[in-house]
């Protein structure tokens, strides 16, 4: 016969838990001293407590445990309970897996951006771009209309995205109203569908500059780029490209002063 403290140490169940189980009639001590109210547990109670602990470790609810202990005396009859629990846990696990993947994705994105921020001095550079596979939508409209198009591509190709969103400007001049804009994402693979075109974006020699700040100050960076191309007698090609290295985040909108946009202009070699 054990006091509740001893019993707690034996079974690994907290005193609070034991009192709760007594209340719920899940584990009623063999005796209760009527005078003092002290609970006195027996060896048989130890057995039952161990069973309860096992089931709690499997994260069954107290009500389930109650039912299992009341109605059954054999593991075989518990199989349906176990299978139900198994299924719940599987569901929960896949859900957590999704969350985990999502988090990993966001974290990785942010880390890449942090590296770009550190390593770059935001000067005009000349580099060779690789040909990329992109999923894109081309439309006529205003720049501010791009949001939903990005959303549509992301929904259709979410699993295959492998880079930052970008815009191609097919006009040779600036147009506020009726611009010929193509929005897209680099993807690993995929087929055109639902109005989204999968195509190869050709690479080549390009003059690039990373612009830091809100989108409405991009023109200053364009000026730098074109100053550079003229100075170096480079002939620019259209479409020009903007790669949105860091814009509004996955969660927060962020400070536009910290947005990073790489402007890429292909030039004749």
């Amino acid at each position: 016969m054990f006091t509740i403290g001893e019993f707690s140490r034996i079974t690994g169940l907290s005193i609070k838990a034991l009192r709760l189980y007594h209340d719920r009639e899940l584990l009623v001590p063999a005796q209760t001293d009527p005078a003092s109210g002290y609970r006195i547990y027996s060896d048989a109670d130890v057995e039952r407590a161990k069973v309860i602990r096992t089931l709690r470790d499997l994260e069954f609810g107290l009500d389930d445990i109650q039912a299992m202990l009341t109605d059954y005396d054999d593991d075989a009859s518990l199989v349906s309970f176990l299978e139900a629990r198994q299924q719940e846990i599987t569901l929960r696990r896949t859900h957590l897996k999704h969350i985990s993947r999502e988090l990993t994705h966001i974290i990785q994105q942010e880390k890449e951006i942090a590296m770009t921020l550190q390593s770059n001095e935001f000067d005009v550079e000349t580099k060779t771009l690789n040909t990329e596979l992109i999923a894109s939508i081309r439309f006529q409209g205003k720049y501010s209309d791009v949001g939903p198009y990005f959303g549509r591509i992301a929904r259709n190709f979410g699993r295959y995205l492998c880079g930052k969103p970008l815009c191609l400007y097919h006009d040779g001049e600036f147009k506020a109203e009726d611009a010929d804009i193509e929005v897209g994402f680099p993807i690993r693979q995929g087929q055109s569908k639902d109005g989204v075109t999968v195509s190869e974006l050709p690479g080549g020699k390009a003059v690039t500059l990373i612009h830091k700040g809100p989108y409405d100050t991009l023109s200053a960076s364009y000026q730098k780029i074109f100053a550079y191309t003229q100075q170096n007698k480079l002939q620019t090609l259209i479409p020009s490209r903007e790669v949105y290295l860091k814009g509004p985040g996955m969660i927060l909108k962020g400070n536009p002063q910290n947005y990073l946009t790489e402007i890429q202009v292909l030039v004749k070699e």
Copy 2:
């Protein structure tokens, strides 16, 4: 401007949740009609609500979300939060994985037993046993001492177990007190360690009988077996074996009347 009901439909957050977030000052509506107390939400509130929803979908707590929205305006600064959450989720996932494995194990065991129960008529049979790799402990003592030895083997070889527990009786006669008993489990692989010996249990022609009932009635089944061997002029070998197909379950003790024990006695061929 939206009423709480409209806002709820827009954001996918329940009215109850919205009122709670207001209480907690996590999402305070743009205005509150002083006369009626009606909450009136703005477009800016929609943005904030979406952020909150995203974070809730990642199963952040309201307090965490509060902190994230109060102190930061950029995803980059959330990375430490995200990583902490990531780690919690990983922990939780591995825990659930353990539970899931445990459940699968129990369920599978019980299903095997259920099949044995259906397909067998509990008659004396002659069959050929395969050689098995077992992890075992041999000791001198009483039958009732076996429990802890099984526990020790299971702890050391838990991952490699691939069959039912068994006992080998090395005495040629019945001994109550100082029997020479070897307890073991079939395993897939492993090395001797911590007093547990890994060895090959030789197979061969055997006379077997599945005994149904508590262990103290095993003698009746032994009697049947030896009656059979004598009748068929078979010479029995020691050690004899008991394989505990169904004993006390992983969770419940079960009804001893339903215990199943296969007695195996090798015979000379």
